[in-house]
Symmetry: C2
Subunit: 406 residues, 2 copies
């Protein structure tokens, strides 16, 4: 873990991707993260993918590595009260809470702040009005699946990456640290609400998509594997491999032309139309039906083994299409040779586990330990954070209000 946030203590009561990834980012920068989970497991405790031959969730394990786990029975009022006390426990760099529980429920900010006025709550939501949403439904509502997929395909094409969840998680971590900075200056806590839908809408607004649709009254056409507004698509080589190749900068554009030896053919198009592609990626897009066949033919005449070294040496922006398991078998970027990844032992096996995505020169990244068994840290947190004596902790167990590891 990197040492940027060594003093922060963050409490999480959440499931799914956004909120747990938020606290994972905080943890990987040095914060302590205490997860309060429903005894027996929250709604995503058994989410697929599962470990082969087992029932434990590789998904849950990935999102909760290095965190402390407290198991509480939320269905009982006294259990809820206990969770509330852990969330609002004292400490200058505590009082930081990340959740996806409903804004109006027992973990409402209004209720929690009566116990700790300077509490910072970061709340992940679906739609801003409280309606449920996941990446798939948000994407459907803002038009992404109608821009995605093969040109000839009829109907929507969902993409599989939970991009808004991941983005909400990182943005939530940003908001939490920003709010904590503000609290140190003003003493003031606050709630920050992060609807998945607004994260998505803001993002496509920042990218100019809303402006484009609003000002033209039209939707961006479906382009298959081709980049919009620039030069790039997939090409098949002589050996049947497909490569994603993109040329953005003048250097990439000229370099690719040189590697493929297609300078005269490109120059002929430029001469015929009185244009230059060298510094105008928009022109390359406008003339794509003329340009792509020239590139495609040149690439189809070469094997991957012949092309790859030239693309590499020329500093081109490209990659072969490969499956994840293929990448794990032969790509150094997806091996322990990448300092991002470490072979970590988990209950279900040893596999490559990422630390923080950032590289901090001069610092040791390390890799978080595996995810805790559910309730592993219940007793320790009750003793250290709430100062409960052993006898009281025993009573809570006996009353079924808290649970230790199964």
């Amino acid at each position: 873990m990197y040492p940027l946030l060594p003093s922060l203590r963050v409490v999480e009561a959440a499931s799914f991707i956004a909120a747990p990834s938020c606290t994972l980012h905080l943890l990987q920068m040095g914060a302590e993260v205490i997860c309060i989970d429903q005894a027996g497991g929250g709604p995503d405790f058994n989410r697929w993918p599962l470990a082969p031959g087992g029932s434990s969730s590789l998904y849950w394990e990935g999102l909760n590595k290095g965190k402390k786990s407290v198991a509480i029975d939320y269905s009982k009022p006294e259990g809820r009260e206990l969770a509330t006390r852990i969330i609002t426990a004292s400490g200058e760099t505590a009082g930081l809470f990340v959740t996806n529980f409903p804004a109006s429920g027992f973990l409402s900010h209004e209720r929690l702040r009566t116990l700790r006025p300077d509490l910072i709550t970061v709340r992940v939501m679906g739609w801003a009005d409280g309606r449920q949403a996941v990446d798939y439904t948000v994407n459907a509502a803002i038009g992404v699946p109608l821009m995605t997929g093969p040109e000839a395909h009829d109907g929507p094409v969902n993409h599989v990456l939970p991009a808004w969840d991941l983005l909400t998680g990182a943005y939530a971590a940003f908001c939490l640290v920003a709010a904590e900075r503000s609290r140190r200056e003003t003493g003031r806590g606050r709630e920050i609400r992060l609807p998945l839908s607004d994260i998505a809408i803001a993002s496509i607004g920042h990218l100019g998509w809303i402006a484009e649709a609003a000002l033209t009254g039209r939707d961006r056409e479906r382009l298959g594997n081709t980049l919009f507004g620039a030069f790039g698509r997939d090409f098949a080589t002589a050996d049947g491999q497909r490569l994603m190749i993109v040329a953005i900068t003048p250097r990439q554009w000229q370099g690719l032309i040189d590697i493929l030896g297609i300078g005269p053919a490109i120059a002929a198009i430029e001469a015929a139309h009185g244009i230059s592609f060298a510094r105008d990626e928009g022109l390359r897009f406008e003339h794509r039906e003329r340009l792509y066949p020239i590139f495609a033919q040149a690439i189809a005449a070469r094997t991957t083994d012949a092309l790859a070294p030239a693309l590499e040496a020329g500093g081109m922006c490209w990659a072969p299409y490969q499956s994840l398991s293929d990448a794990l078998r032969h790509d150094p970027a997806l091996s322990a040779a990448n300092p991002l990844l470490a072979r970590t032992a988990h209950p279900d096996g040893v596999y490559l586990t990422p630390g923080a995505a950032a590289t901090l020169p001069g610092e040791t990244r390390g890799s978080p330990p595996s995810a805790p068994a559910l309730g592993r840290d219940t007793d320790q947190v009750l003793a250290e954070v709430l100062g409960l004596p052993d006898g009281e902790i025993g009573r809570l167990h006996d009353a079924g209000l808290v649970a230790g590891p199964a």
Copy 2:
């Protein structure tokens, strides 16, 4: 703008999505952002989409709204020196730099820190080893396009959302604020490198995808529009509309069954196999070939007008597939009724413009003003940040080292 980071001054020298969206997030939380651009425009100054009938980039406008613009000729040594001085200018809450320039070039952290030892540099990169990358090539290399798209499709299906760029931008904002917090405690600056590739690899690791492929030795199958490991896909209604419907929680699952009146058919499957779908989303996925036809038939028998109110009233997780321009015409979430969005005047027209994606109850979000004309703030920044007198600023213009608005 929200008032969380009112005292920070951040300098950006960057193009494309990740770094500019990082500083936009900072700006929307109250920071001052000074963009140093190549006079005449950086490599993405004319990136598509363009305004209709004009040549100005809606993309650039979206990512740079509210920022200050300084135009410098980087090709001249004295221009580079000037940029360096703005980046490393004094101020307790300045010395924050976001870039995607090469780590080894004239904006290397090692060089800049000789002028300001506590400088914080956040550097967006392609691959960690310095190779170029964009979302499309990173996705190709980690297998996403082979999991995406119609089940019967042969070959990769790219998705159009620049998810890793956006995620890198938000994560970069988090890293910058975390590093600034650390600097306030230790006095120490640092460089933070953020390769797009490592952001992607870490993310799929956190989601359990790497573990799944590593432990099973197999790749996740292509599932079309169907969710992996849970219940959800697109369904056609009687009127030909397609709806994305997801049922994750027990309440969503039972609610959907009740709305569609298919309880007996579902119960029959449960009885035949001795299982209960109520609390096990994995079972719903395993039995999807039995379940989906029952749901599809019930939905195909109903119109959208009949279904939508019931789905809404039941708190279901769903959305109609709609194009972005359709959404802009009739969906309140993509209208000025959403406090996220404001009708803002830009040089090419008035369109809905997002403020910060977060909602801070009790605070006024406001909407950033439009993007600056390139070089609009050159003179002001030279005077206020570097303290240059008018005569010296005039000399820099005369020498072609800086530029004002065209």
